[in-house]
């Protein structure tokens, strides 16, 4: 096979490269979809991302990572974290004085339990799940850091979360 000129050769190489690249990306995607993501446990405090960041901007400190939050007018809104998370605000994990994960969803609990992520607002928890991408975590199970002895040595105290059941 002979090429009429160099530009034909370049075009051929470029097409070949793109085909290879797309192919490898597709293969990676298929592999990513078929492989089980690595399940990890992360620890921290469940916070309302919006309130936490607003509070940081307003006060230059992480003052809105508890249950009660300071409003723009300086008033304190009692139970703000639970209220906002119940309302469907984005959720995040706070630990070591930083937002360490943004949750891919703010799920309701599944199964017979009425537990959902909002029930753990401002509470220290352990979350089982996987990293969807840098900083974005898909929570699958949650439990409080402090557990009754029956829960810790029985069921383990984990509650299932399901991103398919969102607010």
């Amino acid at each position: 096979m002979r090429f009429k000129n160099r530009s034909d050769l370049g075009l051929m190489v470029a097409v070949f490269t793109i085909v290879l690249l797309v192919g490898s990306l597709f293969a990676a995607l298929v592999q990513a979809q078929t492989q089980e993501p690595e399940t990890v446990v992360i620890r921290g405090r469940v916070v309302d991302l919006t309130c936490a960041v607003k509070g940081k901007v307003m006060t230059e400190a992480w003052n809105n990572v508890g249950q009660d939050h300071m409003m723009a007018d300086g008033n304190i809104q009692k139970g703000c974290a639970a209220m906002c998370l119940t309302g469907g605000h984005p959720a995040a994990l706070f630990s070591d004085n930083a937002i360490t994960a943004v949750f891919a969803c703010n799920p309701r609990g599944s199964g017979v339990s009425e537990y959902n992520l909002a029930k753990y607002a401002a509470a220290p928890v352990e979350l089982q799940g996987y990293w969807a991408s840098a900083g974005v975590f898909v929570p699958q199970k949650v439990r409080r850091t402090t557990l009754s002895v029956e829960a810790r040595y029985g069921s383990g105290g984990w509650r299932t979360l399901d991103c398919a059941i969102m607010h």
């Binding site: 508890g66 249950q67 009692k78 402090t146 002895v149 029956e150």
Partner: protein, 429 residues
Amino acid sequence: MKKMEGLFLVLMAISLVLSGCNRTRGDDSSGSSLLQTMAFNEAILVGNPQGHPADPFLATSGAGEVFVSWTEESSGEEGRDGFIAKVKGGGKQLAEIRQMNQEPISGHGGENLAKFALAPDGGVAAIWSAVSHVHHAGTLRAVYGEGSGPFTPEETLNDDQGVTNHGFTGIATGPDGRIYASWLDGRNDEEAAEVFMAVSEDGGKSFGKNFQISTFACPCCRPTIEFLDGGETMIVAHRRFATSSGYIVSDNVRNHQLIRSTDGGKTFSDPVLISDDGWVTYGCPHAGIALDVDSQDMIHAVWWTGGRTPDEAGIYYTYSEDGGRSFAPRQLIVQAPHDTVLHTHITVDTNDTLYASWINIEENRPQIFLAHRSAVTEQWSPIHRVSDGAWNTVYPVVTVDEENLYVAWTERKGEDSQVRLRTAPLVGN
């Protein structure tokens, strides 16, 4: 003659040794409770093993008879059945086993286990949470069994008819024969439990109107009722809760506090802090405080706390010598994990020796431990492990009669459970 001298020297030596032994025993007897170890009998299994028994409760009648209650998987589709029996033969056998319920009992058990009190006439009043299909909501049921006869059908103890949280009970018989039931109640604010009470004037056959005796209660920590001054004073202890729902402040500190009534529960004092542990937690820790009162009206209390820092976590003891108006600084009995909520139960014998049982973690398994405190030396005995370590063991309960200490607990392995009961002669007996 030399033989006589030799015999004399041998006798002298034996005499000296024996006198030394006697002196040692005499010294020990002054602190006998400190050094005397408990000699436990072999444990017996309580209930039908096929029913996976759980959640025992113990009480001793005024006549000195020991009763044990427990639950088993219900013969129906859901919940559990409740049973009660007399403990005979110094804890070696059970007699007069009776079923207490007709409707299923909630299977949650644990801190919310079915409990009973014994009336002076031998009657048994029992209370428990009924099965509920609404999360964190349910009714309290009460039954009465006369002598060794059958139990009455259940009646609802809470009089609000509401679908909200009623549970985590305490029940006790006053010296006047009235039976007092107390529980955590969410009728006024389902996010923040209050302590409610009802009184039976007829030895447990029926209970009167419900009334609130305290607010700001930790929502899953049982209240405990005891009596002083021959029944003139009633004390109720519960774990304080601070919720952030706007109900009260949001510090989430879970200290135990005590309230007193000198008018049969009509009014109560302001709460007195039992110990400023400063333990902060979220959710429902399921850990009330264990209280008992000795013959000198000294209030004893033993509890677990997670502490302000992990190294403070442990099983603690304190006492009050002024009827619960103030408490001595807490004393650490033993350190424990800070992130696993543990349970305690205590009883006092007629010599005012205090017996405390609790769960702690040993070899990565919850086990039952026990120690006693002498009223004479005010010292704690060495700690004795009561369970054998083969299963996970939870929720110990204790009582005494004139001769023995009785300890019962639940053991769990996977889905299986069983109840064990052990006895030991009281120290000094």
